[in-house]
């Protein structure tokens, strides 16, 4: 088989980060090629280079596609050559119909006038190809995530796709939707479409991929043929070290109960009658790191945000106690005053003022701490920011640098600094290592350990089970807004957590997929 695509020595530098470093990727015509790597390893960046989102000239290296050098100036150029990328966050317009979405930017029209009969006819053909029977006039927002994903693929087919790139296509999908999607990929392969699939899920890779390329810290580590694909090998290449050393060692010193939540109930802010959090009770002790496990959309973020100044939800009821005393958490400022902090899962849109410098972000939640009678003290502000920069090893030439220029890990340290400056008793960390490279993850873990060692309580929400197992003294398992189990460090394992989630699932009939999609959409 001839190579359809060869990427040679691709290097892409952002301010402060080398996102790709001399990456090589060869994709044969007609294969399904999987790309593996941790969050922040550079997979998405590589695909953005390939699809022209980062135009030719903004990176170093060479792309040979179909025997010629590829010099995309924009995503349109690459689409004209049949390279279509489907992003993790779907690019459909929810209020337009399926037909309108399929031909968006590619309308079936003569002299600017759309031919609707032809559009609908072609839409039906395309929908049939991806196995959908919905009407072309259905609004996309009415479809579930799984179907939306298939619509995206149909959209690619409408553009005569030759190389289809899917960025974590099944991340937000239910099991049976995922299966359908993978079947479709195999079918397209039989029709001669080459695919690149970015995925974390090793069972999927095993099922559909012909070859796998592993990327770590912006470099291509290895390319494995089908026969060599094993879970162990991929993990070893992805992580680059033994799993055992991914979490810093800690000897917990656990004291009395700091945070105690009882009978916590929260209702959906818009949809009346939909209860998001059901009778949650939990506690965090001094010096303890407690995890909350669960699938996406089970209400973990909603729980955290409703606790933190009722930033989410309606008709909230329940009790919050700090060190045994009932406290008022009804506004963000009273929650902060009570000793609570919430580090959001969505740094960029909820945690930082990106266009402002580091020091202003660090002091934002505690401006009283650097002012006298409402007047800011610039000297004190700089001292505070500098001391956190040193403590948390924020890598930046100065604290006057805008946070938008920092890497994910350093941005997260700025957010942590902001909350540490409010001197919290308990920190709620929501996906604290999302989108952060491996080295910085270790640093964030070390910071968490130090916080616990310093007598604070840490409540950590994470979708990465190994992370929870590696870090937490105790893990609560959440499903459909309720806590369905609690495991000690000794008891906890991936299997047990999954079993608790699934047991909860059996008794529920609600569709969790829709919730997952919504949470994701908000994060995007």
């Amino acid at each position: 088989m001839a190579a359809l695509l060869e990427m040679r020595g691709i290097t892409k530098v952002f301010p402060g980060v080398r996102a790709l470093d001399n990456v090589t990727l060869t994709v044969e015509a007609g294969e399904i090629h999987a790309i593996c790597g941790e969050n922040g390893a550079g997979k998405s960046t590589l695909m953005k280079v390939l699809s022209g989102i980062y135009p030719h000239g903004s990176y170093d290296g060479e792309i040979i596609y179909d025997g010629a050098v590829l010099a995309n100036r924009s995503i349109r150029d690459s689409e004209a050559k049949g390279i279509i990328i489907i992003h993790q966050e779907l690019a459909l317009v929810p209020l337009l119909s399926v037909a309108e979405n399929l031909f968006l930017g590619n309308e079936v029209a003569g002299r600017g006038v759309i031919s609707w009969p032809e559009t609908f006819q072609k839409t039906e053909q395309l929908l049939a190809k991806v196995g959908l029977t919905d009407s072309p006039t259905t609004k996309v927002e009415k479809l579930g995530v799984g179907k939306q994903q298939l619509i995206e693929i149909a959209k690619a087919l409408a553009k005569n796709v030759r190389l289809l790139i899917l960025d974590e296509p099944t991340a937000a999908l239910q099991e049976n939707d995922s299966q359908k999607l993978l079947d479709l990929l195999l079918e397209l392969k039989a029709q001669g479409v080459t695919s690149i699939i970015i995925s974390h899920k090793l069972n999927e890779i095993n099922r559909v991929a012909d070859r796998v390329t592993v990327i770590r810290d912006g470099a291509s580590i290895s390319t494995l043929d089908k026969a060599d694909i094993t879970e162990d090998r991929i993990i070893r290449d992805m992580v680059g070290r033994d799993m055992a050393n991914r979490y810093p060692a800690r000897s917990p010193d656990i004291g009395e109960v700091l945070l105690e939540v009882q009978d916590w109930n929260v209702w959906h802010p818009e949809q009346a009658g939909r209860q998001m959090i059901k009778n949650v009770a939990l506690n965090v002790r001094r010096g303890e790191i407690v995890g909350i496990a669960g699938l996406m959309g089970t209400g973990r973020t909603e729980l955290a945000m409703s606790l933190f100044g009722r930033s989410y939800g309606k008709n909230i009821s329940g009790h919050v106690k700090m060190a045994g005393r009932e406290v008022d958490c009804s506004t963000v400022s009273s929650a902060i005053a009570a000793g609570l902090s919430y580090v959001t899962e969505d740094r960029k849109s909820l945690g930082l003022v990106l266009e402002e410098p580091i020091l202003r972000n660090i002091t934002l939640a505690n401006l009283e701490g650097i002012s006298t009678r409402g007047v800011l003290d610039a000297r004190r502000e700089t001292q505070v920011a500098d001391s956190y920069r040193d403590q948390l090893a924020i890598r930046t030439p100065s604290v006057f640098q805008k946070v938008v220029n920092l890497s994910g890990g350093n941005q997260q340290k700025v957010v942590l600094s902001k909350w540490l400056f409010t001197d919290p008793q308990v920190l709620i960390l929501d996906e604290p290592t999302r989108g952060i490279d491996v080295g910085a993850k270790f640093e964030i873990y070390s910071i968490m350990n130090e916080l616990a060692a310093g007598g604070r309580g840490v409540l950590m929400i994470s979708s990465e089970m190994p992370e929870l197992l590696g870090m937490c003294d105790r893990i609560y398992v959440m499903n459909e807004g309720a806590i369905v189990g609690e495991l000690t460090r000794a008891e906890a394992s991936q299997e047990k957590i999954m079993a608790l989630i699934l047991k909860g699932k059996e008794s529920q009939t609600k569709n969790g997929g829709d919730n997952a999609r919504k949470t994701k959409g908000r994060a995007a």
Binding site: P15, G16, F308, G309, S311, T331, V332, S333, A335, I336, Y342, T344, S349, L350, G351, L352, V353, L354, E355, E356, R360, L364, A365, L367, E368, S371, G374, V375, L376, A378, R379, T382, T396, P397, S398, F400, Q401, K402, N405, K418
Partner: protein, 392 residues
């Protein structure tokens, strides 16, 4: 690499501020030469400089408030109509009802505050877009102005009220020509400005921030101080410092301090930069938005009285189109449409650029048609310059 970037970003910021200042100087020089050559008249005559301030004071005053509104991520289209309405209220209270001036001033400022609160309430707490609320306000208050004045002009105002706009500070030293008080004030102001700039530069260095190059710093301060003393001297040889200039200067200093050195000012920038993040940091964003509109209303009322005092009557058309001059001044001054960015000093320079152009073009007898075109293009050019600088 990052160090270079930091450096170039900071230089860029300095360049922008200095660039606007240079543009102002260039525009002044341009008109001085052209007016001299074509009409044989001195553009920088004492009388014209005095006029320049009297004509533009209200734009600058409202631009101070508008900056806060825009930094918070909003817009206020109603200020022109509020100027007309508050001027009319002042006229009715003074001329028709004969209330004493200080009572009128307090009442009208209160009216402005209520207007700002009424609009800010819907914007902040009901989340109705400010564009819509203030567009409605623009229509409502223009209509109320017509209703209140019955379509007529009301005037004249007593001398004491007129002095709001056309009054001058008498010479306490008794020399009068030139007015020694005016000279003393501007020289003192020049010294203070240079001293504050020098101290800020020194503290930059002790904090390890790359300061702007010494040459640039010295040059800018020299120009600012020289211009200030020159303007002061010219004013002194005419009738002295107008009251309006004093009000204007005090307000500018207050707002510059507020935006840069206070907790509340800082929070408005954070709110404009990322409202959700600000909210999750414990900042009461709704209340801040509300207060920026209350503040805007008060400043619009002050401007309304100054305009009425200058015209010596309240007219149904007063303030028409002012909102555009004010908003243009803020954007020329470097504020960002998306909020979170903008400086008081930039806004003052932006307003002066608009003012000098208005004045210069009027003296040259350029028709109102061309004036609008040129002002529009200058606004566009200033913002393009900004965007270009940012993308570079």
């Amino acid at each position: 690499m990052a160090q270079d970037q930091d450096m170039s970003a900071r230089l860029g910021a300095h360049l922008r501020e200095n660039g606007m200042l240079m543009a102002l100087v260039a525009i002044v020089v341009f008109f001085t030469v052209i007016v001299q050559v074509i009409l044989g008249v001195d553009f920088l005559s004492a009388q014209n400089i005095t006029n320049l301030f009297l004509q533009n004071s209200y734009v600058i005053i409202m631009a101070l408030g508008m900056l806060l509104v825009i930094v918070a991520g909003h817009i206020d289209l109603s200020v022109g109509s509020v100027v007309g309405f508050t001027g009319a209220v002042a006229a009715v209270l003074t001329v028709n009802m004969g209330l004493p001036v200080y009572v009128v001033i307090s009442l009208v400022l209160l009216v402005g505050m209520v207007i700002g609160a009424a609009q800010g309430y819907w914007i902040a707490y009901w989340r109705i877009p400010s564009f819509i609320v203030t567009l409605a306000g623009m229509l409502v208050f223009r209509g109320l102005t017509l209703w209140l004045l019955n379509g007529q002009n009301i005037g004249p105002f007593p001398k004491s009220f007129q002095s709001l706009s056309t009054g001058f500070i008498p010479d306490i030293f008794g020399v009068d020509k030139p007015n020694m008080t005016a000279m003393a004030v501007v020289i003192l102001a020049a010294i203070v400005i240079v001293y504050i700039g020098w101290r800020a530069r020194k503290s930059d260095i002790t904090f390890g921030i790359t300061p702007e190059p010494m040459a640039m710093f010295a040059m800018r301060n020299l120009i600012v101080a020289a211009a200030l003393i020159f303007v002061g001297y010219k004013l002194a040889t005419f009738r002295g410092l107008p009251n309006v200039v004093i009000v204007l200067s005090i307000l500018t200093i207050m707002y510059a301090f507020f935006t840069e050195n206070t907790v509340m000012g800082r929070r408005i920038y954070a709110l404009g930069g990322n409202e959700k993040a600000a909210k999750l940091s414990g900042i009461k964003t709704d209340r801040l938005v509300f207060l920026t509109f209350v503040n805007m209303g008060v400043l619009a009322a002050l401007a309304g009285m100054i305009v009425a005092a200058r015209l010596n009557s309240a007219t149904p058309k007063a303030g028409g189109g002012f909102e555009l001059d004010v908003i243009a001044a803020v954007f020329i001054g470097g504020a960002s449409m998306s909020g979170g960015v903008g400086k008081i000093i930039g806004v003052v320079v932006g307003a002066l650029i608009m003012g000098v152009m208005n004045n210069g073009m009027s003296i040259l007898g350029i028709g109102i048609d061309y004036q609008q075109v040129i002002k529009g293009l200058v606004l566009l050019a200033a913002v393009i310059f900004d965007v270009y600088n940012k993308n570079k």
